[in-house]
């Protein structure tokens, strides 16, 4: 590795804009998002449904298709620009240097092929290896991701596996070429808690064993707290707050993040009313003027309805998109 | 499996069609046993011989010539016919033809268990009724004098007896093989044996029937190697096959509307063979139904139909408008019969007189699968509208049509009839004999006339018989207006360039034993 590469982040997304051009209007699903993923780290992206987490992830591998389009910004992987790159170049990265696992293990595997075949396909697509070798590597990978009876499972069809196993297969597929970056889009949302715990444990292990960076997308703050090193909080296509994991929970800055955390029924809490953020996520077609969270914000001030705040530094790699922190201050 | 079944009945060896006449037909036939069918005579004509044959010797004139009977004597009272048979004639399987075969053939026709349909033609023979009733096992009036002489005695004199023996249903079968074949006779080529100029080679249902020449035919082998009939359900397809050289003859009866096209096309100049059909097109009246019970109405309708226009437009004018029952070519045809005029005013006046000044509503019934009939009915529909008669065309399927007609309940319909044998009896008796008039939905009410039709059969003096028929014709058609005669028409065939010597049979039928006589192919 060259000196230059070593210093640069593995993935650097700058001011990414991905819009959907629907017949009802332009949906700015991702509206100027910057995310950095250093090597050997698990970076979380959290936010409510529809805030643009998946679209961000898909944009990295240019898996956005009509009516969506990346309309601005840059995505640099290892210093290489991906936005506007040749489709063949992107294809050589997909599943190779960067791979993804999706939320729905039920539907993300092709029902008519054996899982072994589907995983080995990921290898043969990028590396000139023999069928037999690919097979062996898949079996090894299955073992690595904790699939019991890996040899036998190679020949299984997706429907013959439980949800947890399928998600392991997906992870195995993603890890098959030992990628530098694994994008996990809500990998545990569809799973039971006991299985979720297994999968999260596995991901941490993978990061540890293979040195793979992970971009973990979730809406579950519990999951974030459990595994992430650094966290981005998204709201309506924008990053609202980003901080190290402890900072985020100990010194929660943005009113939105606070709201989210308070909404969760605390295990220790007394039975009193839960805090809740009033209103609901805005329609991206009719975003409010000024700060997009302002209509729901308890702390909103006149300027919040007029101007869009920037990401203000709250120190210690903690950035907040809120006028409250414009001068390094905090809410009263 | 499939292969074996498909090949069944198909000629095993490759047959060259270079010298085979290729014909087409629209519907598959039920049997090639002439006794069992009233509809299909092509193959029965060619693979069997009859005792006598009917041949045309001039425009519309037929003559009885010897067949398997080389000569015959008729007793003076017209009751006893003695046939002297050809000697040395062999069946296709090499067996000798003798008087025994004639007796067997005739008795087979009459025995109820055979279920034959053409008994009519030999029913004048004494004792035939007893056989048909199952009362007798042998035909009383048929006597084998020796191996080559047969004597037939009739119940009463019947002038058309010889002519009816020439009908295709009276072909002579080989006793031994026919008995052996049983139900398969007429169905399985190898078992369907005759003495004719061709033998039955193969039959693939809905596809092709093939007969090949009988090299040892007693009159001498035919010039053709054989004749093939393709079953082509669609007449337009058949026409295209003919025009692209896949058939040798196109029978314009399948597409009368195309006559003009063929006749005016230079390509077919000299390839048209025209014969007069000894037959007639007509409309019926059901006299049991109002207002057809009124003779004035019937006469009005007779006058309101422009027969010439129908003939011109639908048959390219190829034929002749008729005003009676008997067509030209039939013995007893009356060229001097007064003409029924097309006269709308007179028709209207008659209708008014009958109490229908504004016309009435009526139904013409036809079977569904006949576009030609439909065109005819549509023209009549339009023509009758001019005298205020509103016609509904009702279409029913063929079976229903026949069934309803047999019950005497069709209100009005159009069809045609052509001669089986050359005698007026074949027309007048068929339509106006007491039982028959009901079965054909005429319900002709004049019993006196009907009885005269029956009585005419037994008149021994031929001239007197003809005179009676002509009188009956005038009375029934012109005085009683029992039907609407339309016209007789020509039967037109278009032949391929290579086919020479194609002739039409005396009565205009498609089936003819002329396929033997003088027909050949020049490649």
């Amino acid at each position: 590795m060259s000196e230059l590469q070593k210093n640069e982040e593995l993935l650097k997304i700058t001011d990414l804009k991905t819009h959907f051009f629907t017949h009802k209007g332009v949906v700015p699903a991702v509206d100027g998002v910057s995310i950095e993923i250093p090597r050997r780290q698990i970076v979380g992206v959290v936010g409510e449904s529809g805030c643009g987490k998946s679209v961000t992830a898909m944009s990295v591998l240019q898996l956005i298709s009509r009516p969506g389009k990346i309309v601005g910004g840059s995505i640099r992987l290892d210093g290489r620009e991906l936005v506007g790159a040749d489709i063949n170049e992107i294809r050589s990265i997909r599943g190779n240097k960067v791979s993804v696992i999706f939320q729905e293990p039920m539907t993300s595997l092709n029902p008519v092929y054996t899982v072994g075949r589907q995983v080995s396909e990921a290898i043969t697509a990028h590396q000139a290896v023999s069928q037999e070798e690919a097979r062996q590597r898949v079996v090894d990978m299955f073992k690595a991701v904790g699939i019991p009876e890996a040899e036998k499972r190679y020949k299984s069809y997706p429907h013959q596996l439980s949800g947890g196993l399928r998600q392991r297969v997906m992870i195995g597929m993603a890890m098959a070429c030992q990628p530098q970056l694994l994008i996990a889009d809500e990998p545990t949302t569809a799973l039971d808690v006991t299985i979720e715990a297994q999968i999260l444990h596995l991901m941490k292990q993978l990061e540890h064993d293979f040195g793979t960076s992970i971009m973990l997308i979730t809406h579950n703050l519990g999951v974030v707290a459990e595994v992430c090193d650094y966290v981005y909080v998204m709201y309506a296509g924008k990053i609202m707050e980003q901080a190290g994991i402890f900072d985020l929970f100990d010194h929660t800055a943005h009113p939105y993040t606070k709201g989210l955390l308070n909404s969760i029924p605390k295990p220790t809490a007394e039975k009193r009313r839960l805090y809740n953020i009033k209103g609901m996520v805005p329609n991206l077609l009719r975003l409010p003027k000024g700060c997009r969270f302002s209509p729901r914000c308890e702390y909103a001030r006149p300027e919040c309805f007029e101007h869009e705040p920037e990401l203000y530094d709250a120190g210690n790699q903690h950035l907040v998109r809120c006028f409250l922190y414009k001068n390094g201050g905090g809410p009263a | 499996g499939a292969k074996a079944a498909g090949a069944e009945g198909a000629p095993a060896e490759k047959i060259s069609y270079d010298n085979i006449m290729r014909l087409g037909e629209v519907t598959e036939v039920d049997t090639c046993d002439g006794q069992m069918t009233t509809e299909y005579y092509d193959i029965p004509f060619m693979i069997f011989d009859r005792l006598v044959e009917a041949t045309s010797v001039g425009e519309g004139i037929s003559e009885i010539i010897p067949g398997l009977a080389k000569s015959w004597d008729i007793s003076d009272d017209g009751l006893v016919y003695t046939f002297h048979l050809q000697q040395g004639v062999k069946f296709h399987n090499g067996k000798d033809f003798t008087a025994e075969d004639v007796k067997y053939t005739f008795e087979r026709m009459l025995l109820p268990e055979t279920g034959a349909k053409n008994q009519d033609f030999i029913s004048p023979i004494k004792g035939s009724q007893a056989m048909m009733d199952g009362a007798a096992k042998e035909l009383e009036g048929l006597e084998i004098v020796d191996d080559f002489t047969v004597k037939m005695t009739l119940e009463q004199p019947f002038g058309a007896f010889l002519a009816s023996l020439a009908t295709p249903g009276c072909g002579i079968y080989d006793k031994e093989t026919t008995m052996e074949a049983g139900k398969d006779f007429g169905l399985i080529p190898e078992k369907t044996i005759g003495t004719g100029p061709y033998y039955f080679k193969s039959w693939v249902l809905n596809d092709e029937k093939l007969i090949l020449k009988n090299d040892s035919y007693w009159r001498g082998a035919p010039a053709l190697d054989g004749i093939s009939w393709k079953t082509v359900a669609d007449a337009d397809t058949m026409r295209m096959m003919f025009e692209s050289g896949e058939l040798d003859v196109f029978d314009c009866d399948y597409a009368p509307t195309q006559i003009g096209y063929f006749m005016s096309n230079d390509k077919y100049k000299g390839n048209t063979v025209i014969g007069n059909r000894v037959g007639i097109y007509y409309y019926t009246f059901n006299q049991s139904i109002e207002p057809f019970d009124d003779v004035r109405v019937r006469k009005a309708l007779q006058m309101a139909i422009d027969r010439q226009s129908i003939l011109d437009n639908l048959f390219d004018g190829r034929g002749q408008v008729l005003s009676g029952i008997m067509p030209p070519g039939l013995v007893g045809y009356n060229p001097n019969l007064p003409e029924i005029k097309y006269d709308l005013d007179a028709a209207k006046a008659l209708l008014a007189e009958a109490g229908y000044p504004d016309g009435f509503e009526m139904t013409i019934t036809q079977s569904t699968n006949s576009p030609d009939t439909l065109s005819r009915n549509e023209m009549v529909q339009a023509q009758l509208a001019k005298i205020g008669v509103k016609v509904t065309i009702e279409q029913v399927d063929e079976a229903t049509w026949y069934a309803v007609r047999a019950d005497g309940e069709l209100p009005m319909y159009t069809t045609s009839w052509s001669a089986d044998f050359n005698d007026p009896d074949n027309f007048l008796y068929t339509f106006f004999a007491p039982g028959n008039t009901q079965k054909r939905s005429f319900n002709f009410k004049n019993e006196a006339l009907s009885n005269r039709v029956v009585a005419a059969r037994a008149i021994t003096d031929n001239d007197a018989r003809m005179a009676e028929y002509q009188a009956l014709e005038k009375a029934i058609i012109q005085d009683e207006a029992a039907w609407i005669p339309l016209f007789c028409k020509q039967h037109i065939f278009i032949t391929s360039n290579r086919l020479k010597g194609f002739r039409v049979s005396w009565n205009g039928w498609t089936s003819t034993w002329h396929y033997y006589d003088g027909l050949h192919i020049e490649n």
């Binding site: 009509r66 | 437009n313 009915n377 065309i393 279409q395």
Partner: protein
């Protein structure tokens, strides 16, 4: 290199489709009634719009036939106009009896459209009721109805129609009966399948939990949700009926004169293909265009109602 470019283009072409997500849809579309989806489909799908226009024109022509048709369709002038070639006076010429083909075509459209519509309506009404009962009641009712449907579906449909027509005789009403008998089962199957899946929906359970009666659930909760499917089926069944009629006409058991249908005109005109081709080409092309139009419209409707079909 060349290859790479092609591959890239291929990717462009194929990846351009990404379905709008349901939740997104819910948020974005304030008005997603069936009606408005169809309207926007017509706006975007020119072929479907054109097809609709064709169908509307044919319907109008049929309805206003006496005004539109230049001549009485049954007026014959065989002696003068027999096989008259197309001309200013007779746009599509005249037939063997000297009738104006264009006028007959317009009147024939009436019969063809009625044959397209009526049996489809009857069959689908029967099929819908049967399918609903079968799917919702289940058990014996289901078994009996589905065995009947099996019997109908096991017949080669044209043969069955032929047998029915022969049994009943040729007439317009009997065509309706024959085609309805042949077609109800298909609708019944589809409605049943959809009923089975709707039956499991939570809103049906909610209604049951409230104590809503069976047949009200069927009418209020199941049937309305089958409507998109029924619309699609309807638009695809019409051309099917029109084609069936032409087949029956070929077999001589279709429409009955003097009324004429396009199928019958094609059949009767085909003998003049060589010399007077307009007699068969005009009605043949008319059928082709009308049936294509119904098919395209049906496809468009299906695409437009796609999200509803999955409910």
């Amino acid at each position: 290199m060349q290859e790479a470019i092609q591959a890239a283009e291929f990717a462009e072409e194929t990846t351009r489709f990404m379905p709008p997500r349901e939740d997104v849809e819910a948020e974005l579309l304030d008005d997603t009634s069936i009606w408005s989806s169809l309207k926007s489909m017509l706006k975007n799908n020119k072929l479907a719009a054109l097809s609709l226009a064709v169908i509307v024109i044919v319907i109008l022509m049929a309805v206003f036939a006496p005004i539109v048709a230049p001549y009485d369709p049954n007026f014959q002038d065989a002696d003068n106009l027999r096989f008259a070639a197309p001309s200013m006076a007779h746009w599509l010429g005249c037939d063997e009896l000297g009738r104006d083909v264009f006028s007959r075509l317009i009147y024939g459209a009436r019969v063809s459209l009625v044959i397209g519509l009526v049996p489809t309506l009857i069959a689908m009404t029967i099929g819908t009721v049967m399918g609903l009962m079968s799917g919702y009641m289940g058990k014996k009712v289901d078994f009996i109805i589905m065995r009947f449907a099996d019997i109908v579906l096991a017949f080669p449909s044209l043969l069955l129609a032929m047998v029915v027509m022969y049994t009943l005789g040729a007439s317009l009403v009997n065509i309706f009966i024959a085609l309805s008998i042949v077609k109800w089962a298909g609708t019944a199957r589809i409605v049943r399948a959809q009923t089975l899946s709707l039956k499991e929906k939570e809103f049906v359970e909610a209604a049951k939990a409230v104590g809503v009666k069976k047949w009200i659930i069927m009418m209020r909760h199941i049937l309305p949700n089958c409507i998109p499917n029924l619309i699609v089926l309807f638009s695809l069944n019409i051309p099917d009926s029109i084609m069936s009629e032409s087949s029956l006409s070929f077999l001589g058991i279709g429409a009955v004169p003097p009324s004429t249908s396009w199928g019958l005109m094609v059949y009767r005109g085909k003998q003049y293909l060589f010399n007077y081709p307009w007699l068969t080409l005009a009605p043949g092309v008319a059928i082709l265009i009308l049936v294509l139009a119904f098919n395209f419209l049906g496809d468009g409707v299906r695409d437009a109602l796609d999200p509803y079909l999955k409910d």
